[in-house]
């Protein structure tokens, strides 16, 4: 199903323009589908995957009418979801989570009712080990093209030769600064904590989960982002507890605080950085010079997903390059799929926040699987929060 190969209907730029118009509601869906060629694409797909596109007519027998999707805050394009609903008759419920730990806890307790969720690279081997996600039947995801994905980001999906997830986006974790309020231009995690405890006291946010918050503190102290060394973690805990009275909040949903002006700096994922900067030019996203995280996210189906058919249909839909590009146009995060990147407008493809210079990323680390289950990191985070 490489439909963009046989007829690339319009230029990427034009596509994005039309998309913007469609999002704003100034053109109709029919117009949009016609102009962009998506209509033809769908017709082609319709013949290729009849069970999917004829879904609405026999929705109840084929893909059902519900899908529960667990993901991260500000990480989807409602237009995509609405279109999926329109095409298949499947309504989507979104649960936004603040951390991989929380997702894991829910899945471990069982009976989540989730059909699709979005794990981050370092968690997948844990999920496989705990028998919580299923191996994917790739023949049911024809839009997925393994070779199109950057292996650097896509590899964690494969465990012991079996594929458990399909890639979504990749990004970095740094911090965001409101440059109107913080003039000193912090560049490193050390600066981040200094400013937090100094000029920006009371206006700083850290994430509500261990990996990035503890990781940031570790980097500030000159240690590895992924350290599980008890002594190093002890120092990180001391730093965090010292900074705590100066924090505005401990939350992974930091956009509202940054937007309202209550918070001036926050640990931040790069796509959220672009979302904020788009609306408030004074926001600066910083990849810390002393380290940080590089990550990739995936779509996965839990073992006990109640709506398997809908889950596969959704995965397939979301792997469509056009859909990926449209997704990224809203949340900013770069796709791992070369086909989708080709469709992105230049402004996104060359955005320094989304596609940072390689040397900037030298110091970044992928989260290590060990951090997710490490008892000391979990306890350090919990003690910091209740301190």
């Amino acid at each position: 199903m490489s439909k963009n190969d046989d007829n690339k209907p319009i230029s990427a730029k034009k596509f994005m323009q039309e998309l913007r118009r469609y999002e704003k509601g100034s053109v109709t869906r029919r117009h949009f589908l016609g102009v962009t060629g998506l209509g033809t694409a769908m017709a082609v797909m319709g013949t290729a995957v009849p069970s999917l596109w004829s879904g609405k007519a026999n929705a109840f027998g084929e893909v059902g009418d519900r899908l529960v999707f667990s993901t991260w805050p500000n990480y989807w394009n409602q237009v995509n979801l609405d279109e999926f609903t329109e095409m298949t008759g499947v309504q989507i419920q979104i649960n936004a989570f603040g951390s991989n730990e929380e997702m894991l806890a829910k899945l471990q307790a069982g009976g989540t009712g989730w059909d699709v969720f979005v794990p981050t690279n370092y968690t997948i081997s844990n999920y496989v080990e705990l028998d919580l996600i299923q191996e994917l039947d790739l023949s049911r995801i024809p839009n997925y093209q393994a070779s199109a994905h950057n292996p650097k980001f896509a590899d964690p999906a494969t465990v012991d030769g079996k594929v458990y997830c399909v890639p979504k986006n990749w990004g970095t974790t740094g911090f965001i600064v409101n440059s109107k309020e913080v003039k000193s231009g912090p560049k490193s995690w050390k600066d981040f904590f200094d400013v937090t405890m100094g000029a920006a006291s009371g206006h700083s946010i850290v994430h509500d989960y261990q990996l990035t918050t503890i990781g940031g503190a570790l980097c500030a102290l000159g240690y590895s982002f992924n350290s599980v060394d008890a002594k190093e973690l002890g120092e990180a805990e001391a730093l965090l507890i010292k900074a705590k009275p100066h924090l505005f909040a401990i939350t992974s949903d930091y956009q509202p605080g940054m937007r309202s002006g209550d918070a001036w700096l926050s640990i931040c994922w790069n796509g959220d950085g672009t979302q904020l900067k788009n609306d408030m030019p004074e926001m600066e996203y910083v990849i810390a010079s002393d380290g940080g995280e590089i990550w990739s996210d995936f779509y996965a189906i839990p073992k006990d997903a109640p709506h398997q058919e809908a889950a596969y249909a959704f995965l397939n839909y979301m792997q469509d390059p056009y859909v990926q590009a449209r997704d990224a146009a809203v949340h900013g995060y770069a796709p791992t799929d070369a086909r989708a990147i080709a469709l992105q407008p230049d402004s996104l493809g060359s955005d320094p926040i989304l596609h940072p210079a390689l040397d900037l990323m030298n110091g970044l680390e992928f989260g290590a699987a060990q951090t997710l289950t490490d008892p000391i990191r979990a306890e350090v985070m919990a003690r910091f929060k209740s301190a």
Partner: protein, 276 residues
């Protein structure tokens, strides 16, 4: 005069946030924090959202079951306890006391941990015992666990309410009825029940309200089911839209309507009672 100003201030304190909720439910914009013109689109969205409907009916089913179960069991238990003395009575008093005292969050967690442990033990057993070819049942959290966990607290609430009512009841009436050789059932039906009825009704309504609004217990034991508060919690976390305000406003309007309807019916009944 000062008292009146104070009362007005407190009512303002109570109603300004509610006014804001209602106002923003008519927001034309996407964000719950900025008002951009007025529209009723979020009501349409909420009403046509299958998940909101699901959540509402889940909550309604659970709350009704809880209210019925608690008033039945609570009332029978209160009547039985009335006839009891000695150690058993002390034991039950203690249990009622503890079940009201234990915070909801602990009930939620304890139930989750206990049930998950039992299910992990029973499910393989069931699968092994089940005849081949038929899919074995799989025990999991759901309606039953939420209803059971809510009922623990609300049942004790009903017992307390009904018992207080019985304590204030006119014993002479019951004795008179017995003296007239009425059967115990008849005595209960014609003498006791009419007297404790208001307490049962109050218990029913309290149980319903508690269950319908509960978040923390359901959060732990609802399994794959989404109650309305769980849905709202999830909405707030994924960036609130005025849809949540619309849902809140509709629930408020519905309860106001029910309240006025009950009031109206009761008054009508009373009026008829006095005119006869």
């Amino acid at each position: 005069m000062t008292m009146r100003i104070y009362a007005i201030a407190v009512f303002l304190f109570l109603y300004v946030p509610i006014g804001i909720i209602v106002l923003f439910s008519f927001n034309a914009g996407r964000h719950a924090s900025e008002l951009r013109g007025l529209s009723v689109q979020w009501y349409g969205k909420a009403l046509s959202n299958a998940f909101v409907g699901d959540a509402f009916f889940t909550s309604l089913t659970i709350a009704l079951s809880v209210a019925v179960l608690s008033s039945l069991m609570g009332t029978t238990a209160a009547l039985a306890l009335q006839r009891m003395k000695g150690k058993m009575r002390v034991l039950f008093d203690g249990l009622i006391y503890v079940s009201v005292m234990v915070p909801g969050i602990v009930i939620g967690i304890a139930t989750l941990v206990a049930l998950v442990t039992v299910f992990d033990f029973l499910n393989p057993l069931l699968a092994a015992l089940w005849p081949e070819g038929i899919k074995p049942p799989k025990l999991s959290m759901g309606y039953a666990s939420v209803i059971a966990a809510h009922t623990l607290f609300t049942m004790s609430l009903v017992i307390i309410l009904v018992r207080a009512r019985i304590a204030g009841m006119d014993r002479a009436l019951i004795e008179a009825s017995m003296d007239l050789y009425a059967t115990p059932w008849r005595t209960f039906y014609q003498v006791t029940l009419p007297q404790i009825y208001p307490a049962i009704l109050a218990g029913f309504l309290l149980s319903f309200t508690f269950s319908f609004d509960d978040f923390i217990i359901s959060f732990f034991v609802a399994g794959a089911n989404t109650t309305l508060p769980i849905y709202i919690f999830a909405s707030i976390r994924r960036g609130i839209t005025p849809e949540v305000n619309a849902i809140g406003t509709m629930v408020l309007a519905a309860s106001l309507f029910l309240l006025m309807a009950t009031q109206f019916l009761l008054r009508n009944k009373k009026n008829r009672g006095t005119s006869e």
